[in-house]
């Protein structure tokens, strides 16, 4: 909300600059977005013509000027600048003027010479951060004119973001009230003049049936107005306040709303059919709104209607047909209090926000309903003439929000704030409209009609806090509780430790990218109101996100990436939804690069598998990798499920070449994921004594059928090797010359060891024989040596 600074000054005689007032507003809890343009700050600075200039008798850097500001007498001004001469026009801050730098001009003597004003530089006018000497104005500047006007400075406008609890401050009067109370300055009286009522003008017939939604409704006819555009000063003010001038009547009503906070509405009386009714809508009623929309109303909407149609959605918008235009001569003015929750619900139903609805939703001051009617009537008559009819009043404004009181212990507020609240502070709140009675530790507060946000002791504590100032509250560290420290989740840290870069990608992805790795099964969770198609469905796989990150980086001259991400996957379930915590990996391109000591190598399946194995090993787990050709998005023959214990904990494999190509990636891409929520708890390592006796290593080489898995082979040899077999690992794998096409040559290295003795040749021979025999039995394998 934008408030011209001069409007505030009309309500309270502020002597501070707009910037200082902005600080006060911030301290009082009103967020200031900014201050725009300093016209008000140079109010009182006028165009002056230097008619004489002589040196100061007692100070050689000062001059004595005689300046013509268009008044009978020339002003004597002592000036310290040197860049001016007789005949120059300069800005003169007259006595009483407050400059943006906080200086107030007083009549005084400088080194014995009288000075009745000050000649100003750009800096002093708040127009520039630096300046050299006085601002010399053009020769055609009219003598005596306000410099702000001559320079066409726009007025200072404070841009505020009023919090939803402070509807009472969505207008000049309310903000001025806070500022006046804070500075202990009087708040201007509201013009108490009432419009003279012409008995010839008929009162408006109004009936209110929905009186809980509309506890007060005022209407009055004004006849014979000669509508014209609103005056320039009003238009300028409206524009500065961020509103567009529309026509004379609408502008007056907007002005009254901005000033007093009461939204009003005007109907063209000649377009109203009969009496006015305020009632709840019947489902399906038609409403053609001012903004051109045609609505079917919902039962319960609060509306204003005449005998034949809906003429307004109460507190939100009028109808197109009943609105005023510049050809209107007879009008009906409306001023009312509509129940905030009612307006809010209707506004949400039709997504129809207006300046009026914003104020009604936050709650207007019931005692301002009639005042605003008077102010608007007077302004209309003053500007456009017309005869004013009597006000028809339905309901009792004084009954709304009457007698809202909060009684509580002072100590309750004090212990909430951690500070004492001296009785002297009560005066500030009284000036803000609160009735306060203190008796001992009890405080009894009557809440003003415009404060709909205060009903309990805690609300009062905030009032006291903002009036005393949050800075006055000390910083006290509470006593610390000791709790069992949470077990830190090291998942991503361990992935990073093995050389992966952690990425963070959005939880929502493109549906078509989801489909690359997750078959359609109706269990996607998609957004009602996504930012874009690319961010429209909650991810069920981290791989699309990783693919996009890989693509982004490979497009930027990276020869390879190793990425890891921890985050949630989201899926519909039978009784709601699940959010699984996963860790995912992606590797593609170079894992080693060309360098003086080695040559480049691209990532393969076993690079990523090694990363997973070591990640599992750190947690005391081992995984079984089970070939699985059915994983969506992965290439058959290079993909596997990862079994940890009995749990399907993850997947690994090579991304299908066509999918990788769709992401513009031409190196093989390997991905994996582990469901952290499904992963069993690993075993904490237990101590085992280190072997005392030396072990023996023996190698065997066999020819196996090509499709025999190393897992099956190792399982067989391990069980055949008996207790002495410590480890068996494949040290050589060969296919090619000398090996039949359907065979593979595997070299297995066995390490044998006994806990209680040094092994003999016979021991290891026996073990080797047992292994050779078992392999021969289990597989169609040939022992080669």
């Amino acid at each position: 909300m934008k408030i011209p600074f001069s409007w505030l000054k009309e309500q309270v005689a502020l002597s501070k600059s707009p910037a200082e007032i902005a600080d006060d507003l911030i301290r009082l809890g009103h967020e200031v977005e900014g201050i725009e343009l300093p016209r008000a700050a140079v109010q009182g600075v006028r165009v002056g013509l230097i008619e004489a200039k002589v040196p100061h008798p007692d100070a050689d850097k000062l001059s004595l000027l005689k300046v013509n500001i268009g008044e009978a007498e020339l002003l004597d001004i002592v000036c310290g600048a040197s860049n001016m001469d007789v005949g120059d026009k300069i800005p003169v801050a007259t006595v009483g003027t407050s400059l943006p730098n906080g200086l107030t001009i007083k009549k005084g003597k400088i080194r014995g010479e009288t000075s009745c004003g000050m000649c100003c530089s750009e800096t002093e006018l708040g127009l520039a951060d630096e300046s050299a000497g006085l601002l010399i104005l053009p020769a055609d500047a009219p003598i005596g004119m306000e410099v702000g006007e001559f320079l066409q400075l726009e007025e200072a406008v404070i841009d505020l973001s009023i919090t939803p609890n402070r509807g009472d401050c969505m207008n000049v009067r309310g903000l001025a009230r806070d500022l006046a109370a804070d500075a202990n300055l009087p708040l201007a009286d509201i013009n108490s003049q009432t419009a003279e009522v012409e008995s010839t003008v008929q009162a408006v017939a109004v009936s209110v049936s929905a009186d809980s939604d509309c506890p007060v409704y005022l209407a009055r006819r004004i006849e014979g107005v000669k509508l014209a555009d609103s005056p320039a000063w009003m238009q300028a003010g409206l524009i500065m306040a961020g509103m567009r001038p529309v026509n004379g009547i609408v502008d007056v009503l907007n002005y009254v709303m901005l000033y007093y906070g009461q939204p009003m509405h005007a109907f063209d009386a000649d377009n109203i059919d009969g009496d006015i009714t305020v009632r709840s809508a019947v489902a399906g009623e038609d409403f053609a709104a001012l903004d051109g929309r045609k609505l079917k109303l919902t039962a319960g909407d609060l509306l204003v209607s005449d005998a034949s149609s809906v003429i307004a959605l109460a507190g939100i918008m009028g109808s197109e047909a009943s609105g005023v235009s510049n050809s209107t001569t007879n009008i009906v003015l409306e001023s009312a209090f509509f129940r905030p929750a009612r307006v809010s619900e209707t506004r949400r139903t039709y997504a129809m926000v207006s300046e009026a609805s914003m104020r009604f939703e936050r709650g207007v001051d019931p005692l301002m309903v009639a005042t605003a009617m008077q102010q608007a009537s007077l302004l209309i008559q003053q500007l456009f003439g017309g005869q004013i009819g009597a006000i028809t009043t339905c309901g009792d404004a004084a009954a709304i929000h009457a007698g809202v009181r909060v009684r509580c212990a002072v100590s309750r507020i004090e212990s909430r704030l951690g500070i004492e609240i001296p009785e002297s502070v009560d005066a500030v709140l009284r000036r803000m409209g609160f009735g306060i009675e203190r008796s001992g530790n009890t405080i009894d507060v009557t809440v003003p009609s415009f404060r709909h946000d205060i009903s309990i002791a805690e609300d009062l504590s905030e009032e006291y806090a903002r009036v005393i100032g949050f800075d006055a509250i000390p910083e006290v560290l509470p006593s610390l509780a000791t709790i069992a420290p949470a077990r830190l989740d090291r998942s991503i840290h361990d992935a990073v430790a093995s050389g992966f870069l952690q990425v963070v990608s959005y939880a929502f992805i493109a549906e078509k990218e989801q489909r690359l790795f997750v078959p359609a099964d109706g269990n996607d969770i998609s957004l009602e109101n996504p930012i874009s198609d690319a961010m429209s469905v909650m991810r069920r796989s981290a791989w699309p996100g990783l693919m996009n990150v890989a693509k982004h980086n490979l497009n930027r001259q990276q020869a390879g990436v190793a990425l890891a991400e921890q985050g949630r996957l989201y899926v519909k379930t039978a009784n709601g939804h699940a959010e699984d915590n996963v860790l995912a990996w992606l590797m593609t391109g170079e894992v080693a690069r060309d360098e003086w000591c080695g040559s480049a190598r691209n990532a393969d399946f076993f690079d990523l598998k090694a990363a997973l194995e070591s990640w599992l090993a750190v947690r005391g787990l081992t995984g079984r990798f089970i070939a699985d050709d059915s994983i969506v998005g992965l290439q058959a023959g290079q993909s596997a499920r990862i079994l940890v214990g009995r749990v399907e904990a993850g997947r690994i494999g090579k991304v299908d070449g066509d999918i990788a190509a769709a992401f513009d990636i031409d190196t093989p891409v390997f991905v994996a994921d582990i469901n952290l929520d499904a992963l069993p708890e690993g075993k904490k390592a237990k101590f085992q004594s280190l072997p005392e006796f030396p072990g023996v290593e023996r190698d065997l080489v066999f020819l196996f059928d090509k499709h025999t898995t190393s897992e099956a082979i190792l399982n067989t040899v391990r069980s055949a090797g008996g207790k002495l077999l410590n480890d068996a690992r494949i040290f050589d794998l060969y296919q090619g010359k000398g090996v039949p096409e359907d065979k593979v040559s595997l070299g297995i290295r066995f390490s044998l060891q006994a806990a209680d003795r040094t092994l003999t040749q016979e021991d290891s021979d026996a073990a080797m024989h047992a292994i050779i025999e078992a392999v021969g039995k289990r597989f169609a394998a040939t022992f080669r040596g």
Partner: protein, 359 residues
């Protein structure tokens, strides 16, 4: 010349010849050959000894002693030469193995934590050390936890300011309320307090809840997904002074220097009083700069005393207990601490950025 004289001469010649040969040896292999040639079983000295047999017995010991002396002398010379050559050989080997130690090490993959993760870890650790327990909650929430229980009823204007993402096809409760992506981590307040009470505990309760949150807002300074940390404490007589104390301690620890804090009254439906928290600008020591827009202050988080309606919604008696709560934006704090100028860098995941910010 007598036989003995001839032998003596022969021995002397042999010794001289051998010593000369030894000192001319250039490596250990040559020296070993010389050892064999002179001192070996079929070596020159053995040949001389064969002549001793021809001598009269009384002369034999004399010449025997001399042969031994020569043998001794040659062995000593050989040993000396051997160690000299060994030293030389080692020196040569060392020289041959000399490296350019300025060549880069063999490269291996270097991982890095995402800067947001680093921020989350640091922030959570500070509160953990202060005795706050870590809690989490779902990201797909119902309206009750995200709004109603936090004193934001449906007609509340603040609800419209949350730019909420709603999800399709999920609902909660009897009235089939729509589900949404949580707009803040505050719903964890409700869940954590409820769980705590259901487990039969009584306050004090102090919780830190990090997590992802979502707002339907996407431009230069807004990301539709970002990270928050919710912090709250409920106990007897918790006051705003405690809130300020905890904020000061946290912010000073996080920024690794004593920071000034300023609270400005604000409005949040779930706290009363509510305050926006500024820190004295860490870039200009409050003198005013581009980053603080000349004000000397930077807004970092929203805070306040938990509204009694919030405590009531979980069944905590607000006449006995009070609490403070605040929620901070992780990206914002990380940007301030690390001097990162643009929010979008976090989600672009450029590996050059990630590597640079990795330490």
């Amino acid at each position: 010349m007598s036989d003995i004289e001839a032998l003596n001469e022969q021995l002397a010649g042999l010794q001289e010849e051998a010593l000369k040969a030894f000192s001319g040896a250039t490596d250990l292999a040559v020296l070993e050959q010389l050892r064999v040639a002179y001192l070996g079983k079929k070596g020159a000295l053995t040949e001389v000894l064969k002549g001793v047999g021809k001598l009269p017995p009384e002369q034999r010991p004399v010449i025997g002693q001399q042969v031994n002396a020569v043998k001794q002398a040659l062995a000593t010379a050989l040993d000396a030469m051997e160690s000299e050559l060994a030293v030389k050989a080692k020196a040569e080997r060392i020289e041959a193995e000399r490296l350019d130690v300025t060549l880069p090490g063999r490269s291996g993959p270097v991982g890095a934590l995402h800067p947001v993760q680093q921020g989350l870890d640091e922030i959570t650790a500070i509160f953990s050390q202060m005795g706050f327990a870590v809690a989490e909650g779902p990201e797909i929430e119902n309206e009750f936890h995200n709004f109603d229980a936090l004193n934001i009823p449906p007609e509340h204007p603040a609800r419209a300011m949350h730019d909420t993402f709603f999800v399709k096809g999920l609902s909660s409760g009897e009235n089939a309320e729509p589900m949404l992506l949580r707009t803040h981590t505050s719903p964890v307040q409700i869940r954590a307090m409820r769980r705590f009470l259901e487990e039969g505990h009584e306050p004090p309760l102090a919780v830190v809840a990090p997590g992802r949150v979502y707002r339907c807002d996407y431009d230069v300074t807004h990301s539709p997904m970002f990270h928050q940390v919710e912090v709250f404490k409920v106990d007897h007589d918790v006051s705003m002074a405690h809130l300020k104390g905890v904020l000061k301690h946290f912010l000073s620890t996080y920024f690794e220097r004593e920071v000034d804090i300023r609270l400005r009254p604000h409005y949040f439906p779930f706290t009363e009083p509510s305050a926006e928290v500024d820190i004295g600008c860490v870039f200009c020591a409050r003198k005013g700069c581009r980053i603080c827009k000349g004000s000397g202050w930077i807004e970092v988080l929203g805070s306040g005393m938990i509204h009694p309606n919030v405590l009531r919604s979980v069944g905590i008696d607000s006449s006995i207990f009070s609490g403070f709560a605040f929620g901070l934006g992780v990206e914002r704090l990380v940007m301030l601490k690390q001097g990162i100028p643009d929010l979008r860098l976090f989600f672009e995941n450029d590996v050059r950025f990630l590597r640079r910010m990795g330490s």
